[in-house]
Amino acid sequence: MIRMYNASKDYANGVKALIDVSVQIEKGEFVFLVGPSGAGKSTFIRLLFREELPSDGQVIIAGKSIVRLRSSKVAVLRRNIGVVFQNFRLLSDRTAFENVAFALRVLQFSQKDINQRVPEILRQVGLSARAGSYPHQLSGGEQQRVAIARAIVNNPKILIADEPTGNLDPDTSWEIMHLLYEINKRGTTLIIATHDKKIVDTMKRRVIGLERGRLVRDDQQGVYGL
């Protein structure tokens, strides 16, 4: 599903954020991406949904290189990858329902589809009762659920989360992890960058470790680190 071959990323300011990283992630996998701050986790994620291009090496998704893509193909790629961030990135002037519907509207779904899919996905993330609430009326955990709902409403094959629990307390973090786990169980390939040692250690999933831009470990049932 995802292949990275000797991928490197040098930012314009000279920082080498990724150095010669090769990784292979199969369909339906659950992968933690760990490493100290500045290790290159976010950069790794940005390469996957082509927010950034690698300075060197290849990124291949579903058998196709995404390095040289026309912009219309980039849009198609992104429809197959959901992304979730630490700071939720919801639109503050729209309700939970409209935030999720937004993703469908810009992909030109019909109102009928929207009225059918959005409530269904809000039910899946446990937010049916809060559909009409604005982001500032929701707790951090609830906001992250809206963001996850928006990321998966289009049934992407891959879901990437960059520190999805970074702003949440431990209990809420576990709820969000559980939700992501449920989504993965239904077949979505899941990649989570995180600092949360406890969660990584408890869930015992594949762990990819980065340090100063280099791949330093890849354990099938790993723990956060020593």
Binding site: S72, F109, S110
Partner: protein, 296 residues
């Protein structure tokens, strides 16, 4: 074919930007309105002036002044010579007494012009010559000017040329002002759309992340400029329509010899062009900002 939901979404995005940008939107609409109003006014002015010029041109007459000391026989034979010329439609003889009477009338009643001139009428006999075709005026006038009995030939050619040169000048002035104002309108719309691009930064990012195509992300911003431009020119077209109707009915009542364009269909078509012009200004303005500030 775009879905109704999508169209409503795109237009809704554009309209909410216009509302959110309140003052800037108003300024943009106002500038477009003023520039299109000026353009429309000058266009109507120029078109009407052409009509007036045509009317004057078809009325051109040649005034032929006979030598002051010409005898009655010479005058009669000149009359016959002119009448038999090709292209001449009518010749009217104006005797020197008649000419003087006409002059006295112009000076007003109670003036004894003849006495103040020392009892001698200095005016010559003259002919007013009408030609079949205004284009023949200068040719016929030249032939008549060659007659030995004829002192001077006058016709309105110079005046028409002067009128046309004034018209040209007015036209250039109007075009210049309209171009400057249009640039200002494009500039203001570009600024307004740029504000929207920045205000909608979060939305643009999310649109990219969920896989919206570039043209789809850009469309609401184009629409915003398009709507601003169209609203502005709609205002201008409405203002021109009503003030021009007023003007026409006033002119017809007071100075009815001035011909004016009253063909409603023609005017509506002109206003439609203005509307299109405003829409184009708006689109150019938003295109400038979208190209420059919306990197997708």
């Amino acid at each position: 074919m775009m879905k109704l939901t999508t169209i409503r979404f795109l237009v809704g995005q554009a309209l909410s930007s216009i509302k959110r940008n309140g003052m800037m939107s108003l300024a943009s609409i106002g500038t477009v309105a003023i520039s299109m109003f000026v353009l429309g006014t000058f266009l109507l002015l120029a078109l009407n002036a052409n009509l007036v010029a045509d009317a004057i041109e078809t009325n051109v007459e040649i005034a032929v002044l006979v030598h002051p000391d010409a005898s009655k026989e010479t005058i009669d034979s000149t009359y016959n010579d002119i009448s038999s010329l090709n292209g001449v439609m009518a010749v009217t003889h104006v005797g020197k007494d008649e000419a003087l009477a006409g002059l006295e009338k112009q000076f007003g009643e109670g003036h004894d012009l003849l006495r103040s001139l020392g009892g001698v009428n200095p005016l010559p006999d003259s002919f007013i010559v009408k030609v079949e075709n205004p284009r023949l005026v200068s040719k016929v006038a030249d032939v008549i000017g060659g007659f030995s009995s004829v002192d001077k030939v006058r016709y309105g050619k110079g005046m028409i040329e002067k009128l046309f040169s004034v018209l040209d000048w007015v036209r250039w002035l109007g075009a210049g002002i309209a171009v400057l104002l249009s640039l200002a309108a494009v500039f203001l719309i570009a600024i307004t759309v740029r504000i929207t691009v920045f205000a909608r930064g979060d939305e643009i990012t999310i649109m990219k992340y969920v896989g919206a195509t570039n043209w789809f992300i850009r469309l609401p911003f184009f629409l915003e400029g398009l709507i601003l431009g169209t609203l502005g020119s709609l205002l201008a077209a409405t203002a021109i329509y009503f003030s021009y109707s007023k003007l026409v009915s006033y002119v017809i009542l007071t100075v009815n010899f001035i011909p004016l364009i009253t063909d409603k269909e023609f005017i509506l078509q002109l206003l439609l062009y203005l509307l299109v012009g405003g829409a184009v200004l708006g689109s150019i303005g938003s295109a400038v900002s979208v190209r420059k500030f919306l990197k997708v």
